[in-house]
Symmetry: C2
Subunit: 159 residues, 2 copies
DNA sequence: GCGCGACACGTTATACAATAACACAGGTGC
DNA sequence: GCACCTGTGTTATTGTATAACGTGTCGCGC
């Protein structure tokens, strides 16, 4: 599975493709894909890993697109809200979505050595937990599923 | 399942039992269960919900057990490291473990209305995600599984 | 007894993450 | 013009977490 993420790939098409897909989605949904939002999405796609809000903000500041935290957070909130990016709770950081457009409940594999993050899909309230929830009458609305470990490229590396 | 957590129960035994179990574990493993660590565990058990580090710290300060953030974080790190408590990444908060002693990979049901948190068990690197990881050669060491929704007691409540 | 390392604890300072609150600017509909 | 909505700019503040350094204590080998 290519989109699973630890492989090398043509990164420029990865960015342009991602941006194009989001432009399309916004057009269809009547959302405003403003310059700040676009730039933040590009930054996430460029980095291709989880990025902290303040790292985003530093870049925006250098480029004159905004210098205060709310600027970055508002753009990130927009992207997350509409499924174009995800927040990695474990890292308090953000990453571009690997399959924008789909309505999905993502899961992540996080490498603790190189910080790479791969997105994959889960069954919405699936498996064991969904079962336990149903038994007790708990209604699941959203799940966070993040696995931490070592990616194939970092296997065997010291520390 | 009683330990799943949204039901009423005898809370005093819940605390004393939890502390006793941890004392026992520490004795066996040769760990130091110091006053600060004990008090923090008690606080988590008393609250019986996710508690922020600074809320813990406030109480420690009132009781003269420490006044600076590292005091609370060190105790919490100890408890988490040895499986006596867990961090809820989604809330940036901590909760006492419901089955201390067992070596387990916990999952949580978080009520967005009343903030109750129930701990349940998962298969270690289970299901879909474990499969995807194996296929790509990713080694999972730890998983975060947190479901957000509405608990049975809050179903139908306004807002 | 003495030196030493391991570990817990105390304290200062700082970094990083997130939001509240208010002002302003541009469109759109009437 | 005017009300309304959405996005942006800015100031200030709160919340979360760690770096770095010093102190005290205990157990161990000598
Ligand atoms: Zn996604
Ligand atoms: Zn890696
Ligand atoms: Zn547990
Ligand atoms: Zn509830």
């Amino acid at each position: 599975m290519d989109s699973l993420g630890f492989k090398h790939h043509d990164h420029s098409t990865c960015i342009s493709g991602g941006v194009a897909a989001v432009i399309q989605s916004c057009k269809e949904a009547g959302l405003q894909f403003t310059p700040v939002r676009k730039r933040v999405l590009e930054l996430l796609l460029e980095r291709h890993r989880a990025v902290g809000a303040y790292e985003i903000l530093d870049t925006l500041r250098e480029e004159g697109l905004g210098s205060q935290p709310p600027v970055a957070y508002r753009a990130l909130d927009f992207l997350v809200k509409h499924g174009f990016a995800h927040k990695i709770e474990r890292l308090n950081a953000f990453i571009a979505c690997a399959h924008p457009g789909d309505n999905h409940s993502p899961a992540f594999l996080i490498c603790r050595s190189c910080d790479a993050v791969a997105e994959t899909a889960t069954v919405a309230a699936g498996g064991r937990l969904g079962q336990a929830a149903e038994e007790t009458g708990f209604t699941i609305e959203r799940t966070v599923l993040e696995a931490e470990g070592v990616c194939p490229n970092c296997q065997g590396k010291p520390e």
